[in-house]
Every structure is written in C-alpha cells, then in structure tokens.
Subunit: 241 residues, 2 copies
Amino acid sequence: MNNSAPCVILVEPQLAENVGMTARAMMNCGLSELRLVNPRENHLSDKAISASSNAEEILYNAKVFTSTEEALANLQWVVATTARHRDQTKTVLGAENAAKLMAEKIKAGMFCGIMFGPERCGLNNKDVCLADAIVNIPLNPKHCSLNLSQAVLLVGYEFYKTQTECKKDEFVTNNTTPATKEKIFKFCSFLEGLVADCGNFKDDEKREKLVINLRNVFTRNQLTEQELNTLYGIINHIRKN
Amino acid sequence: MNNSAPCVILVEPQLAENVGMTARAMMNCGLSELRLVNPRENHLSDKAISASSNAEEILYNAKVFTSTEEALANLQWVVATTARHRDQTKTVLGAENAAKLMAEKIKAGMFCGIMFGPERCGLNNKDVCLADAIVNIPLNPKHCSLNLSQAVLLVGYEFYKTQTECKKDEFVTNNTTPATKEKIFKFCSFLEGLVADCGNFKDDEKREKLVINLRNVFTRNQLTEQELNTLYGIINHIRKN
C-alpha cells in the first residue's frame, strides 16, 4: 500500500473503457493505487488495457471489492466526489482545498482515498455517508456532468499540484541567450542609420517618433542573440538586392 | 465572437470522438468557441456528436480552417499547449498562471485563444512559433501523454477557476442546523448519567477520563440537532429493550 498519494476508489464503474482511461489519468497525476467496487465490466479486458494507454500496470494492480465498506476499510480519510448536493450533513470542500488537506494528512502518515461513483448517476447516499468530506469540482453549473476519468483527472491534477513545486514561468532560449541591451540598442541605431541614409530623417519630430517606436518594438520582445543575428542577416540581404 | 472566454483551436485533430469530447470538456468549463484546423474526420459525425454528451451546440458552431494562421487571424493573444520543450525562444507558462494572464487580457478586451495539437504528436514547431507563449500543464513527467480532450479540460478548468469566486468550503446541514454547545453538553451529561447509573463511575480518575473522552467525541464532529435527536432515540430504544 502506497502512502505517498491517495488511492482512487471507483464504485460500480460501468464501462471498462472508463476504468482504463481512469488508470491513464491516474498515471498522469502520479497516482498508482486503484480500487474497484463491483465493476460491471472486466477491468483487464482489451478495451480497458487499450484505453489505459500504457498505464495498464495500474489496472493489473487494481483490487476488486464487493462492497464500498471493504474498499475503504484500511483507509483513514476518504473524500467522495459528487456534483450534486446531497441530503447529508457533511463538509463540502472545493477540489483545490480538498487536495491540499489530503496532502497534509498524507504527509502526517494517514492513508487517504478519493471515491468516485458510477458514470450514469454518481455516488449514492449510502456511499457518500461513508466519506469524511464531499469534494466539489468547480465547473459550469449548467453542464457539470463529467466523464468519470475526467473527474479523476481533475482531482488527481489538484493533488499533483500540491506535490510539485509550482514551476516558475520561464523564458526558454535553448542554445542562445537573451541579447544584452547594448546589442539591442546597437541594432536599433543600425536601423535608424539605414532610414537616415534613405533621406527620411529630415523632420526632427518624425525622427524622434520613429526612434522611440523602433526601440519600443525591439525591447518589448526580449530578443535573443540568435534572433538579432537573424534580423541583421535579413536586412543585409535586403540591402544587397 | 465571444470575448468573455478564450476560444479553443484544435490543429489537425485526428479522431472525431476526441473533438466531441473536447466540446464536452469546453462546455464543462464555460468555453464555447471551437476552431478546427484541417480535422481528419467530420466533427459533425454521429461519433463526435455522441461523444460531446449534450455539448453538440459547440460542434455545430465550430469553424473549420485550412491553416493555423487563418484560425488565429482575428485573435490577439494565443497560447500553445505542449508537453515537450521546443527548440524555440518562447515564454513557458504554467497552466494556472497562463489562465490568470489570459483572464486579465480578456478582461482588458483582448481576443484570446488556446491551441492544441494532433493527438499523436502535439503541435509542430511551425504552429508553436505562432503563439505568444507556451503553456505547460504540470503532470507526472514520466507519463505526461494526455488525451486531447483532457488537455482541453485541464486548461479550461484553470480558466474557469479564474472566473468563479473560489467557493468557500462549507458545512452542509440541509434541513437541520448545527447543534448548540448547550445541547451537546446536555447530551454528554445524559450519557454520563447513564454510565453512572450502571455503577461504573465510582473511580474518580476513570470518571474524569470518560467524561473528557465523551465530550471530545461529541464536540469534534459538529453534530446537528437532527443527529442529536437520532442519538437520543437510539439510546432510549436500547434502554427500553
């Protein structure tokens, strides 16, 4: 039993394909333990394996139970996903908060699980009441019916985000580096010189405007050295022709 | 053209079913405008309509283009989703930040779009270079191949979250209310009295421990009035038998 991530419990899933796609979504999110309560179809059928798209390991390791109680037995904190409000007294958590809370509990050594109901109607009240809290996935209230594997994906994604340092946005330059200001200003002067050569720089006010525009254009887009070279090349090519 | 949400551009989608599932995911996330660049299959086929699960409106309104440039022509800010790093000079944004930035731009009146590539291989470099930034969805790096509609769902979900006030976690009680402390203490005293009647409260230290345990049990779980009545009912029933 893995205690670095919650297990996923599918209660009475109807279609083998959805179980396979759930395995794929779990793998995407770094989840590995799948429990099935009375699946209608064989979760090791060709359909399921094919839908899992290389996540069949999760299907082979999945455990099948005959009741939800048994499937939850050795867990310590369990949430139930449901789109509809239930006639139950229960804490309802947003998906992001539920993931954070679960991550804390897992860090504290607790075994956790996320329950999902059948495709057609979701979890029934008898299953929901077994959970410590309800998870609500914030989606368009006019169209919140979600494919089973997509519900797993969204909750898993929120959990995965709690486990990875939020990647900083980055400017990728690969084999080149952002050009220094000196090189960019030099390029602008080069362009300005070319325009002056054409005799279009006689009006001081116009010239000033053009200079400002050019410098704005070429400082706003974080040019790299390679890109500057490309621009020089193009211009030199034009001049020769 | 809708300017309250980004449009979704699928470049050369291969399977009609995935286009249908994309429409469903878009509807889940409050997105409505779908653009298709050279789809391989008919996006209005029975397969696509059935996979859209009541989001066929989006399919009927989808526009088909013969080049990515045309599909992006009237947009002002576009991001490209790709799992792999590209040999390009481009800003890479995490999905959450990309959604926030896009929401700001939309609020400022800009027309925005999110580009997705073909199922088999994702966007090619010629398409990626047309985008203002790359979006990276944080997922298990060992298994980040994502079904097309699931990629749309995750980016759409992040956008939807920027548009809805983050729902506070709530304690749902339906037709009853959380019991007052007075009622809970009274219930505890009632239980303590029953235990005393059985003659088990002679040892002061033991009694104190039991009282504390009982009060902890019944204050930790935020009982409602209805639940208190249920507990009284059960105990009275036991006593009569």
